[in-house]
Amino acid sequence: MPTLTCPSCHSPLQPHAEFGTETIVCGHCRALVGIDGSQATPLGRQDESSARLASEAPLRLGARGTLRGKPVTVTGILERADGDYTWHEIAIADAAGDVGWLWVDRGHFSLGVCEGKQCVSYGADHHYHYQGHKLALFNKGKARVVAAVGEFPFKIDAAALSEITDYIAPPYVASFEDAAWWVFEYVPLADIERAFGVSCPAPVGIGINQPAPYQRQRRAFGLVTVAALLAAILIHFAAGRAPIAAPLVAGTVDLLAAKDAPPESFGPFTLERRWNSLEVEVHAPVVNAWADLTLALVSQETGRSYWTSRGVEFYRGVDSDGPWTEGSTVSTALVRSIPAGTYVLLAHGEAGTWNQGSAPPAAEVRIFDHPAPTSNLLLAIVAVLGVAGLYLFAAHRFESARWQMSDYEPKEYT
């Protein structure tokens, strides 16, 4: 390509023919110059924003690097805007002169992977698709060029507004502009910094096509959750023995005995496991009365005793709303952490009445072995599902942050 001069300041221009350059920015006066063969025509002037762009762009003009195994050079940088919202489009040329693009949105880099009318197809499901990925409409807007430096394989019209429609299927974003698709794939910042040997500011927020770690792992995470729940259920019913219908010990306790009468003794009975949870059931035919049993399991080996009390109360009557009842003649409780050993049950009972009730003469107490209580399983399920819930919450927050940038409701993409 012959040496051209800027129509505005007559400085020499050196566009690269191998880049297919149609617009070059004068390095001296920042004017936009159209290149058409050996002709240089003015396309417009630029203000200070062009100089600022040269020094503040995410990558510098002329920067070299190896991106995804291909040596590239930054040949042009565009700053574009839709209203107050700005982004950068960086032209990178490989050794053969083919120009590709990096799109930089709030510090999030994406590499152009396809451009043309055929990149995206319209499916029978009435959605656009890119390589099998269903795209979701993300935004529509009108973009203008704010500033440019370098050279570009198209004419730049700084006054023009281009309609752009963005669709996403992370890590891809497909932009429809000027009757053509531009598909970009998200590139982690670390890859860019490694490729160009630079240090860039941390990206702001969530990139619109930033892959969500939650999305990538959701299937595996779900499988782990389901497997853990199944394992918990299987282990619960395999490792824990089912309750035995017959009580370990049962007795009838005199409720009319004197307060200082010695306790009644029942048993002995043997507990075999390291710890034992026991279901204590007390029954007394109380009507407008209560009965309380004080119970002690006394180890025959150590003399150590384990104390609890359990009562029943049942009341009934009639008021302005009609008949009412309250309480029950049966009461149960799960007593935990009784060590293995041989025990006797000591019991003492007392009873009282209310409103001409009658105290029963005796109460029955039965103690059942209750291995592997269901509450253990429920706690394990809550622990597993709780973490899964946190994961879903984090995934929801990630997507919410992404779609805050959109004018549209979040939609499914694959």
Partner: protein, 57 residues
């Protein structure tokens, strides 16, 4: 290693779930109930709640 880095949340969940299921199995096997009433323990000759005093007369 990179696979683990990319799926660390799933890996952490797998470790956590294994721990929980293991604890459940151990608790069930040894008869330990997480919930339930813990009885008052009294060693021979030890002071205990007044309601039970009469048992040791």
């Amino acid at each position: 290693m990179s696979l683990l880095r990319a799926h660390w949340q799933t890996a952490a969940h797998a470790v956590w779930s294994t721990l929980i299921v293991g604890l459940l199995g151990a608790a069930d096997f040894y008869g330990y109930a997480v919930f339930g009433e813990t009885p008052e323990q009294v060693a021979p000759g030890q002071q205990h709640s007044h309601i039970y005093l009469r048992f040791h007369k």
